[in-house]
Amino acid sequence: MRKLRKYLLVVKTGINSNLIYTADFLAGALFFALVIFIFMQLWEAIFFNDGSMEGYTVNRLVWYYIAAEMVILSKSDVFRSMNEEIKSGNIAYKLNKPYSFVLYQFSEGMGQIAVRLMTNLPVGLLLGFLYVGKLEGLNISALPAVVISTMLGILLNFFMDAFIGMTSFWTEDNSALYWIVQKLSFMLGLFLPLEFLPKIIREIALYLPFSYIAYAPARLLTSFSMEEFLSMVPIQILYTVLFAALSALIYSRGVRKLNVNGG
């Protein structure tokens, strides 16, 4: 019980330290508004305000983008934080503290995510209603499924970041890797639904983890089907567990290496 309280406190600290930066929050919200605005204009220019493509209307595409961007923007700083701790060697001092480094990072990350989600959610909803009105064909009973998929997407994103962050036990330049992974998740589901991509790319993407961050929840929100829910959510769970396990593995290997080299 005491142990749990310790980490809950870390979550709370993560939340508080983010809440202080009001200006950052406002800037983030404005950025969110900007990109959605540009995409809305772009879709309207393409469709001349009516018509649809691959089953998406302007309204749905804008809501798709809002949902996907919300997952992407509601991420933690775990990559940067891991990277800095390990590269600077500070991690050596954290290891003998009475908490698990990994759980600490996880708790802090969840705190950050909670804040960002709490701020991005109302902003996203507001912008959506202002720009294109309520989502066409919204299926209220599907919302719990969307929430589950969103949570899984966020978790998957977190563990992928943590995993890449910890590769800095071995390599100096993992930011390039981080970048590429980030761009892949943008390309395979953030800017465009997978349905827009050429068939071959779409089929490959469905095997890779990247689309299960943003595409899955946004797709389920804008055009829900039980079939897709049952095919995507298990894969989301699978990939989340896989990257969590990989993170744990790479962490224990990394710490062992650290001990050998003496930090």
Binding site: L19, I20, T22, A23, L26
Partner: protein, 379 residues
């Protein structure tokens, strides 16, 4: 430019400041979301007077220490004198220029080493930084080469010139840092904490360089430091400020000898047989059979020693000056001012006899610096 220099040659004052003031306006930060939104829209300010009313004159070639506790206004004053900050009111002339209005012209003629802020490029050898600085100070390339040779010899950094700065030790880096700051042959050099974080040997080396710079290039040195050793070993004059005001301006010697009227006696007894003998003595600290006493100079010492010897059998005794650290600390806390002020601005102490036992072990090896600086006194 040259006429200005010639014109000043006969004139001995390089820094004049009159009633300098600096008021900062800082935003008040508040916690909590609503509060911080409020302060975004309508910020509240608080005014802080960092420097209020500093007047100062520094003659050419002087080694002056500018001291004070953290937040006393030292850096702010230096920043005003170098043209980084505009003064709120008051006036100043540095090398005959107004730093606020003629920053650029002034910067050709002053140099600075500001704490940990580096002028050197971290990933490149010092030589590259020197070349760049040469261009910044508009030095003719032949002149620059000559000057670099000169400095390399003076600072003994020849073998460091082609090694990237990141691979140098802190001491080596500081030497190069110094070298970089005098490349353009400044007439005044401002040193803000030049020996911070350095080990004893490097500290000595840096002090030696400062002294040499002062002697060989007649550079005026304006130094702030928390290391009292720097002041003791380098400077002829000390200006102490606190709460933005000068609380004391005197020669370092006067500072020392003013306090030398008092001595500290550390004594250790094997046994104390006569406790009454100890009554009435000014005991600062006592622990079992060891104690520390403060006594007045002159007859006081003899009397106290006699009483101590009668009090019991002594195993060990040391008589020492009050350390400079304590003197300055006392001034910071306003304790020691009366004791000293009566003695400042008189040269009576400069000429007092120099008993060898006055120079306790902390002073060894610095005879040359104190001797070299006596010319800077006499206001």
């Amino acid at each position: 430019m040259t006429t200005l220099r010639d014109g000043e040659a006969g004139n001995n004052t390089v820094i004049v400041a009159r009633d300098l003031r600096k008021v900062f306006r800082t935003k008040i930060k508040k916690e909590g979301f609503t509060q911080s939104v409020k302060s975004l829209v309508k910020p509240e300010y608080r005014e802080i007077e960092a420097v209020h009313g500093i007047s100062l004159e520094v003659p050419r070639g002087e080694l002056i220490a500018f001291l004070g506790p953290n937040g006393a206004g030292k850096s702010t004053t230096i920043k005003m004198l170098t043209g980084i900050l505009n003064a709120t009111s008051g006036s100043m002339l540095v090398l005959g220029l107004d730093p606020g209005k003629q920053r650029k012209s002034l910067s050709f003629r002053i140099g600075s080493v500001f704490g940990q802020k580096s002028q050197l490029w971290f990933h490149l050898p010092p030589m590259d930084s020197f070349r760049l600085l040469g261009a910044i100070y508009e030095m003719d390339s032949k002149l620059l080469d000559k000057r670099i040779d000169e400095i390399v010899e003076l600072f003994e950094i020849g073998e460091l010139m082609d090694i990237p700065v990141r691979k140098l030790s802190l001491g080596q880096r500081m030497r190069c840092e110094f070298a970089a700051s005098i490349l353009h042959k400044p007439e005044i050099i401002f040193l803000d904490e030049p020996t911070i974080g350095l080990d004893v040997l490097v500290k000595q080396k840096i002090r030696e360089l400062i002294t040499r710079l002062n002697k060989e290039e007649k550079t005026t040195i304006f130094l702030t430091s928390h290391d009292i050793g720097d002041v003791e070993h380098l400077c002829s004059r000390a200006v102490i400020i606190n709460h933005g005001k000068i609380v004391m301006d005197s020669s370092v010697k006067a500072l020392k000898y003013g306090y030398l009227k008092k001595k500290v006696i550390d004594v250790k007894f094997a046994a104390i047989s006569n406790h009454t003998m100890l009554e009435g003595l000014n005991i600062l600290k006592r622990k079992g059979l060891s104690m520390k006493l403060e006594v007045d100079e002159g007859d006081g010492i003899q009397e106290v020693m006699l009483r101590l010897m009668q009090a019991g059998s002594i195993v060990d005794v040391t008589i020492s000056d009050i350390p400079m650290e304590k003197i300055i600390g006392d001034i910071y806390t306003d304790k020691g001012l009366e004791g000293i002020n009566s003695n400042t601005h008189t040269d009576s102490y400069a000429g007092t006899d120099m008993d060898t036992d006055r120079y306790t072990d902390t002073d060894t090896g610095t005879g040359s610096t104190t001797a070299g600086n006596s010319g800077g006194e006499g206001e």
